[in-house]
């Protein structure tokens, strides 16, 4: 067996080794379950409470995906506008930087005042948190589009919208997809923050309640599940990225 063939499994082996050492350490030093539960303990909790956890996980996933979709759409539009127009860039950028510097957890109470607790503030927090990275990336992609490529389109008499569609947007797509991978993980952060503050359903809520009950294995089960959902979504967008913008990697597999 060559190293090439097992390379894809390195990440799995790494995770297993870390969890194994963790288990070993906890058992060896007899760490209290209230401080740091062993993987076997929180996996046990995960299986034991599977239905209850799924009830919360569904909510978190659903909220995150909606918030992410809203945030990415807004971020993409703002990014194209800011990248294409200097005036737009100079008008909105300082305001957005300021807005993004506000800790998102500070926004949740405001959303709760406006919309009540539950799904809506979580969706909004998740959306707000991913607007900025998407926008910054897309703006960079749009702003760095080669003038030559635009001239090819312009010399054919293409309108501004056509130039945008045929050159600027495809040229910015790699930046957009790179930002999606950051944005989806941030989106989970946004959702969970909101759920820990004001909700009665979701992984965040579940973890707050579990910690109040000193059910530490369940808290860790929640953490583990969030990590797993993040990885799955990240991988999902990485696959789409490879399909759509494989040309950036000059990848032979993409071309054939």
């Amino acid at each position: 067996m060559t190293i090439e063939r097992i390379r894809p499994f390195f990440s799995v082996i790494f995770a297993v080794v870390v969890l194994g050492l963790w288990e070993l350490g906890v058992r060896l030093f007899n760490v209290s379950i209230f401080i740091l539960p062993a993987p076997s303990q929180f996996f046990g909790s995960l299986i034991e409470n599977w239905h209850g956890i799924m009830f919360h996980a569904e909510q978190t996933m659903y909220t995150t995906v909606i918030g992410f979709a809203i945030g990415v759409t807004l971020g993409g539009i703002l990014g194209v506008a800011a990248g294409a127009s200097r005036s737009v860039y100079q008008t909105i950028y300082p305001a957005l930087v300021g807005f993004y510097s506000v800790p998102k957890v500070a926004l949740v109470p405001i959303f709760v005042i406006w919309f009540g607790s539950g799904t809506v503030p979580a969706v909004l927090t998740s959306a707000v948190i991913c607007i900025f990275p998407v926008m910054v990336n897309v703006a960079a992609g749009v702003a760095t589009t080669e003038k030559d490529l635009e001239d090819v389109l312009r010399s054919l008499g293409a309108s501004m919208l056509e130039t945008l569609w045929y050159v600027v947007i495809p040229r910015s797509a790699p930046y957009f997809f790179a930002s999606l991978k950051v944005a989806i993980t941030l989106s989970f952060v946004g959702t969970v923050i909101s759920e820990t503050v004001a909700a009665n359903r979701g992984i965040g809520t579940m973890m707050v309640r579990a910690s109040a009950d000193f059910d530490v294995p369940l808290v860790f089960a929640g953490l583990f599940l969030l990590a797993a959902m993040g990885i799955v979504m990240y991988a999902f967008f990485a696959v789409i990225e490879g399909r759509v913008v494989g040309w950036t990697k000059r990848d032979v597999d993409f071309a054939t």
Binding site: L149, V152, L156, G157, Y166, V167, P170, A173, A255
Partner: protein
């Protein structure tokens, strides 16, 4: 219309091509300035040049003389500061549909296959765009035939970054031709290529021109390229660009590369070279002699 003050070449055949019939492309006292007010830089100063329908004109000059800018003005990409450009009798104020353009870099869109790059103008230019989907099969056939004619048979499905620089530049010529433009504007299209590839593409371009007879305006800093390809070579001075010389090249076509080694070609080359040297060394003096 020749610049009346331009030095007359020793060649007795030096006369404006297509004299009598209205020119297809005409620059009339074109002035181009960059910037405004005190910071304004004069790039091109009072260029008048007529290009007859189906003619092949090369514009040569030192770098920075505004020859590429002049081409962009003809393409409607850059506005004139004063003066007008007429294309097919109409004033050029914005990009025209009957223009094919190729640039120094191949400017292929890297996310499109070579074939889809070549097809691009058909998706944009009227009237092709409205029937692009309906006539997709015919369009693809046409693009593939064009690719084959420049020696790129079967590479349509490859991405531009899988092709060599010379192959990309060939494909870019195909893209400039696919919508059957009446005029080709070529901005140093072979400038970035090695000498052998460049010579090969001269032959390709000559063949394409002989087959389709578009009007061609070629901007280059390579005198050999200008002499090999063009019917007329127009020499521009250093910035601000003015026309200082024009030479008619009357070698029979198809021209062979060996022609470039003939005494006659050598003489023309030397004469043109002299004009460019003269201009760059005594640019101000030459300018003072003009109205």
């Amino acid at each position: 219309m020749l610049n009346p003050e331009a030095p007359v070449a020793a060649d007795p055949l030096d006369a404006p091509a297509g004299a009598g019939s209205p020119p297809f492309l005409a620059f009339q006292d074109v002035v181009i300035e960059y910037g405004r007010g005190a910071n304004a830089t004069l790039a091109v100063d009072g260029i008048s040049l007529d290009v007859a329908d189906g003619d092949f004109v090369a514009l040569v000059g030192p770098s920075g003389c505004g020859k590429s800018t002049l081409l962009k003005v003809a393409a409607g990409l850059v506005p004139t500061s004063s003066g007008t450009v007429l294309l097919g009798g109409e004033t050029v104020t914005r990009p025209q549909k009957n223009v094919g353009m190729a640039f120094q870099s191949a400017t292929m869109l890297p996310w499109r296959t070579t074939l889809r790059n070549v097809l691009l103008p058909l998706q944009i230019v009227r009237p092709h765009r409205s029937k692009f989907r309906r006539e997709k099969a015919a369009n693809i056939k046409k693009a593939e035939a064009l690719l084959a004619s420049v020696g790129l048979r079967g590479v349509g499905s490859k991405y531009p970054w899988q092709l060599s620089g010379g192959m990309q530049q060939r494909a870019s010529l195909c893209r400039a031709l696919i919508h059957e433009p009446e005029i080709l504007l070529l901005d140093e299209p072979f400038g970035a290529l090695d000498a052998f590839t460049r010579e090969e593409l001269w032959q390709v371009l000559q063949q394409l021109w002989q087959e389709k007879k578009p009007t061609v305006l070629l901007v280059t800093h390579d005198l050999r390229e200008a002499i090999y390809l063009a019917n007329r070579v127009v020499v521009m001075s250093a910035r601000p660009g003015r026309i200082v010389h024009e030479e008619r090249i009357d070698f029979p076509r198809p021209r062979r590369l060996s022609m470039m080694f003939s005494a006659e070609a050598g003489a023309i080359m030397e004469r043109l070279r002299g004009k460019i040297d003269h201009v760059s060394l005594f640019g101000d003096e030459a300018a003072a002699g003009e109205p």
